[in-house]
Subunit: 261 residues, 2 copies
């Protein structure tokens, strides 16, 4: 028996999300089926965390145990022959037996992409939120900066989530940047956030709140008020799933960034 | 009556190509229907040229005549409300009455994208040809350079094309470039070719020939031999459609590059 860890990328558009669900096809299901195709074993594939329906991954990490004799580094190519083109395993290797894709994770990074301009562009129609009107970049940036540090993020958790004992999380970095084109404003703005962990829908509610602040629908102090007040209705709406991508996962002995070009 | 010219982008994956055909949905059909939705008129939409099934456009140009009173520059947004997300009109304006999207075109540019590496990446699965093995960049580049100038390209025309009187075309530039990543080799290689016009399947056969030369299946002199010999079987195979994108169209009074970010 050995433990395999993999890095995979996917476009979440066609899936109900990471987790196996009765009402549609999940990434976890596709992976489980692909592993069965390769090894003949029905295994439990554990991800670093769930991604919602429509959310993408540039670097999701998962692990599973197998008795197959195939060398660990051959799993990536082998699994890809059983996966559709919108899911790719980019890396596979043997992991220490106590490695756990979810519980061992020390840091995660997400990126949320916004596309500005009069028309929703074809190339990023599934991976960026199109905005007709340009928010204030400075207001977005100030609201993002207010999230850095250790806070109780309960206002940024989906209503209906099961109650959690500890809704405190630490955000290491939280920043907007502008990219692309010679046009003004640059057509793509990205929000990158790295933290110790994230509550359910937390990144999307952070983005929804920042976009309301950036467009003047909420005052600049709304972010701090929601962080200190702790009530869901102090924060903004949940931004659409399709702009969000799981960007990077770090473990004590393993950082996805070291394995991606 | 006024003549409208538009710039549109599309991902060709889901379409039978530009031209209206009985056996599937075409870009031209979608545009014709969208114009009907906006103006109530059934018009003939003329493109700068046909793109094959699976071929994409970053900047296709088309024109049509309308009696609608809507200002010409409002057509882009109006048409987009009637188009699916994989087709976008990026620009619309009134054109001189003698402008013709096909016959007035003076120069066209195509880009063919190749993705290298062990796994076909998710993001470019529909827009780049994945190659497992790395061709010789120098051999590709030398073969590309051999195409520049005025040649009889009949060896690079699909067999079964209707006979043409003049198969001479002028290639202004023909060049490979490497982009992306800090990895070696860079994961994306692009072939950019600009010419006075192109025969049916010409760019794809040029690429197919260069890739055979780059991988040693054809000798370096195969390109010149096909250009001088003129027989289809002197050239290589037709490269897959999905790596090809119509990149730019130039007219005496109009260059798509001036309108794209």
């Amino acid at each position: 028996m050995k433990r395999i860890r993999i890095i995979l990328e996917y476009e979440g558009t066609s899936y109900v999300g990471w987790q196996i669900q009765p009402n549609g096809v999940s990434i976890q299901q596709m992976l489980t089926d692909a592993i069965f195709g390769v090894t003949g074993e029905r295994v439990n594939v554990i991800g670093s965390g769930r991604t919602d329906s429509g959310v993408h991954a540039r670097a999701q990490v998962a692990h599973f145990d197998t008795q197959a004799r195939m060398p660990a580094d051959k799993f990536a190519v082998a699994l890809n022959t059983h996966l559709p083109p919108d899911i790719r395993v980019l890396y596979s290797a043997e992991a220490p037996p106590d490695f756990h894709a979810c519980f061992s994770a020390k840091q995660k990074q997400y990126r949320y992409t916004v596309q500005l301009g009069p028309h929703a562009r074809v190339q990023t129609r599934n991976t960026a939120l199109h905005l007709h009107t340009v928010p204030s970049f400075d207001l977005l940036q100030a609201a993002a900066a207010a999230c850095v540090g250790t806070h109780d993020f309960r206002a940024f958790m989906a209503t209906g989530s099961k109650p959690m004992e500890d809704t405190r999380r630490t955000i290491f970095s939280s920043e907007w940047s502008q990219v692309g084109g010679g046009s003004k404003p640059p057509p793509y703005w990205r929000y990158d956030v790295a933290g110790s962990g994230f509550l359910y829908n937390m990144v999307r509610i952070l983005v929804g709140t920042m976009l309301e602040i950036g467009s003047g629908k909420l005052p600049p102090e709304a972010m701090t008020r929601a962080l200190t007040g702790g009530a869901r209705d102090l924060a903004g709406p949940t931004a659409p799933a399709h702009g969000l991508t799981l960007w990077r996962v770090c473990y004590p002995d393993f950082d996805t960034e070291d394995y991606l070009a």
